[in-house]
């Protein structure tokens, strides 16, 4: 039963996957676009979207209006999976200062060998993983719990200002407010140890991330992300992501350090 996908389907997956990788990688941020290109290969348990973006048995997102929290605000809670996960795409080249561009090129040349994520360290903000995350909402705080790459979390505080006395941190400090039906999350207080994406774009501890979360319908969570970093960028950079509600999924335990034999075998070239 488990092995219902047969070799011919796998072969088809190979071809479809190969042929569709390039256009999807460079495609925009629309989840609908990604899903439309997915092929139902009848894999075990349902649809395998072989679209170069996601191949798990992601159920199609449910239809319906965005739910409301009891205070009338949009309810963002749910288990979400990036509908357009990309290891490196942040909506085009980042406006990096020369030193930062040099670091990025070094990291590319060594094929991501020194990626902190491979050492089971937090991915940072706004980097995402291909694993789902969960949003839990309360009136004064909204929390994101990440399944991977480590069990990190973020808290969006709605009842306070930024604390000027915190030590720099991996995930930063996030202060949020509602602007109409959009949750605006302002995050600062980062260390400079994370990579902005899998390609290896660096940032400084002056990184300032503004995220604008909206839930246009039951099944989607859209985010517009602006990164400013006077220490590494020449100008602000804005891009969009869309996440899909994984209505039948739960986040699961993922203990990255359990058997990370990779860490001293990442040789790069």
């Amino acid at each position: 039963m488990i092995w219902r996908s047969v070799s011919s389907l796998a072969a088809a997956a190979t071809v479809v996957g190969m042929l569709s990788l390039a256009p999807i990688r460079s495609a925009g941020q629309s989840n609908e676009k990604s899903n439309a290109k997915g092929k139902n290969l009848g894999g075990p348990g349902g649809v395998i979207a072989v679209n170069g973006v996601r191949d798990e048995n992601l159920p199609p997102p449910p239809n319906g209006p965005a739910p409301r929290f009891y205070d009338g605000k949009p309810d963002l809670a749910g288990v979400w999976l990036s509908g357009n996960y990309s290891f490196s795409n942040m909506g085009g080249p980042l406006p990096l200062q020369p030193w930062a561009q040099k670091v990025l090129e070094e990291r590319r040349a060594t094929q991501g060998r020194d990626d902190p994520e491979a050492k089971c360290l937090p991915a940072g903000v706004p980097r995402i993983t291909p694993y789902p995350f969960k949003i839990i909402q309360a009136p004064k705080v909204i929390a994101m719990l990440f399944e991977g790459n480590v069990h990190s979390y973020r808290q969006f505080f709605l009842d306070r200002e930024h604390d000027k006395n915190l030590d720099p941190s991996w995930m930063g400090e996030s202060i949020a407010s509602w602007q109409g039906d959009t949750l605006v999350v302002d995050t600062v207080n980062f260390n400079d140890k994370t990579w902005l994406n899998g390609a290896g774009a660096p940032h400084s501890d002056k990184l300032h991330v503004t995220e604008r979360y909206s839930r246009p319908d039951l099944g989607h969570l859209d985010v517009e992300i602006t990164m400013e970093d006077p220490g590494a960028f020449t100008k602000p950079h804005t891009f969009k992501r869309s996440h899909v509600l994984s209505a039948t999924w739960e986040i699961h335990e993922y203990v990255c350090n359990e058997f990370n034999v990779d860490v001293d075998r990442l040789v790069g070239r």
Binding site: G52, Y131, L266
Partner: protein, 141 residues
């Protein structure tokens, strides 16, 4: 046959040339897309561990010498969502693994030869994708 092989090689090159991507680490940081392997043998064990599950396969060469390969796969959670279970592969099951050898030639601490599995085919011909994700930067599926 030659043409098909050339086309396949070209496709592989195209895919490999794309931006490396992986869930936990870059494929190309650890594995060599130029060292594909096709290993037929029996399952020694399925290690259901993070950040990547491992399939251990014992294979015999022409002289009868047995080698054990440890193939990295996706995370247990990702495999689970793809329809695998921790007991999907049992000791003694016949399998064929299409994968790639690690760039670092050292065996794992238990002496297993180290590779990355892309496709696992059972004795009955059924096959499943074992890699991390379609967007992991690895060559083919």
């Amino acid at each position: 046959m030659k043409l098909a092989a050339a086309v396949l090689a070209l496709l592989m090159m195209l895919v490999t040339a794309l931006i490396p991507a992986f869930a936990h680490h870059s494929f190309s940081a650890e594995y060599d897309a130029n060292k594909p392997v096709n290993i037929k043998g029996v399952v020694a064990k399925l290690a259901w561990v993070n950040p990547h599950a491992y399939i251990y396969v014992d294979t015999k060469d022409a002289s009868g010498k047995v080698s054990r390969y440890a193939f990295e796969t996706s995370s247990p959670n990702a495999l689970l969502r793809r329809g695998w279970k921790r007991d999907s592969l049992k000791e003694g099951d016949e399998v064929t693994v299409d994968g790639y050898l690690a760039k670092d030639p050292r065996p794992l601490n238990d002496g297993s030869l180290h590779g990355n599995a892309r496709l696992v085919t059972l004795a009955n011909g059924k096959a499943v994708f074992a890699g991390t994700s379609a967007d992991d930067g690895g060559p083919g599926k």
